[in-house]
């Protein structure tokens, strides 16, 4: 218990003194997660929406697979990305291993299914509502997807925020592909894992609280920007 207090205290001091290491890894955490979120959203939002409007033979299977991919163990994703990017792997020549880029790649793989699945869920409802109108207006697939994404944007926010949360809190994959190298690929979660391993629980918790505060700040910011609740029912 005292450790939890010590953790809060550590978080407090880290923040008020604007510890330069903390600032560095926090910014890197944000950079990696936000970049991963952007790429994942670019894939997952249209894909999830497309899945909601398309009827094809193996649609149910596709959805089950998508849901199963939400359970992709980060460590396995990390391993596979590691093998692909390693010197002896097919993409070794790019020298991406142990760079933030590698971490972004791993995170994109991890959060894309989650975002796509939540998107699909939200878009199904909206599509049921819009279906007749959009079919009647003879819209193209593309137009349908764009319309649904635009009009369902507030629901997609939850999807994106879920993805962001998963990305910023993730450690297993980025530890493997990033290597937790000081001043190069260390982010908040890997630093927390490191401090835990060192037995410095107070510092680990402190970093953890910083991370939670960060996630909270991003959420509150986005919520107030989008004013989700102010526009009444929608």
């Amino acid at each position: 218990m005292t450790d939890i207090w010590a953790g809060l205290e550590a978080a407090f001091w880290l923040i008020v003194t604007l510890d330069s290491d903390l600032v560095e890894i926090t910014l890197r955490s944000l950079q990696v997660s936000v970049t991963a979120l952007v790429f994942a959203s670019l894939i997952a939002l249209p894909f999830g929406t497309w899945l909601a409007i398309r009827r094809f033979r193996y649609r149910r299977t596709a959805i089950a697979v998508l849901n199963a991919l939400m359970g992709l163990p980060p460590v396995v994703v990390g391993l596979i990305v590691y093998l692909l990017l390693s010197r002896s792997g097919p993409f070794g020549v790019f020298g991406l291993l142990f760079t933030p880029t590698a971490m972004i790649i791993a995170q994109v793989i991890i959060i894309t299914p989650l975002i796509a699945s939540i998107t699909h869920q939200a878009m199904r409802e909206l599509w049921a509502e819009y279906h007749d109108l959009l079919i009647s207006l003879n819209t193209t697939k593309r137009q349908r997807i764009m319309t649904l994404i635009w009009d369902g944007r507030r629901a997609l926010l939850t999807a994106a925020l879920a993805g962001f949360g998963r990305a910023i809190g993730e450690v297993g994959a980025i530890m493997i592909v990033g290597g937790n190298i000081d001043h190069a690929t260390r982010v908040l979660t890997t630093a927390i894992a490191l401090e835990t391993g060192k037995g410095d629980f107070a510092l680990a918790l402190g970093l953890g609280f910083v991370l939670i505060a960060l996630a909270l700040a991003v959420n509150i910011l986005i919520h107030s920007l989008s004013r989700t609740e102010q526009e009444g029912r929608w």
Binding site: L133, S136, L137, N138, T139, Q143, T147, G232
Partner: protein, 233 residues
Amino acid sequence: MSLALSKGVVKRRGKVILGPVDLALNAPDITIILGPNGAGKTTLLRVLHGVERLSSGALTLSKPDAQARQEQAYVFQSPIMLRRTVRANLAYPLELIGTAKPVIAQRVETWAERIGLADALDRHAPRLSGGEKQKLALARALIREPDVLFLDEPCANLDGRSTREIETLLKDAHLRGTQIIMTTHDLGQARRMASDVVFLLGGKVHERGAAGRFFVTPETPEAQAFLNGDIIE
């Protein structure tokens, strides 16, 4: 444009809810589809427009499919509002076909005026009153100036004056060459508008005929009964 349905059947969960229907509709008419609740009016209309797939049978249009669909418009029985402003709802069909922005803006104004929603342009469409939604749906269908207009009880929630105004709008469109196919439960409206009547019963075309004749001397006792079930003061 002429639409011809031959041996059209729609099944749901194995039950036939429409058909077999053979029906040919031609350009200059205002065709009114009549029938009791659950007769299959909505289903027939949807089949003719192509939003409902036939379980068997065929729909033949006098134009290539893609073009035909572009020139048709449909007003659904319960209005479907995009979760946008009234303005965005009106602009939407035009944006889809890439109409120039200033043209869109101007047409939106015109139509909002015509249906009496000029003051409501910036309101959220899903929050309009029942009648206002219906009018908006109608204007959104007319804004592309379609050749064929399908209307599913377009005046069900409208007051007397709006009903009159909409009827005038529709007749004007008809005079400019728009083919109109609509359902209604308002037999007064049917009498005022129809040039051609299709009477549906139990998913089948029970009687078909020119409006003048149908309302005066229906051929079948069922049509007779239906007309009598009407509210005549």
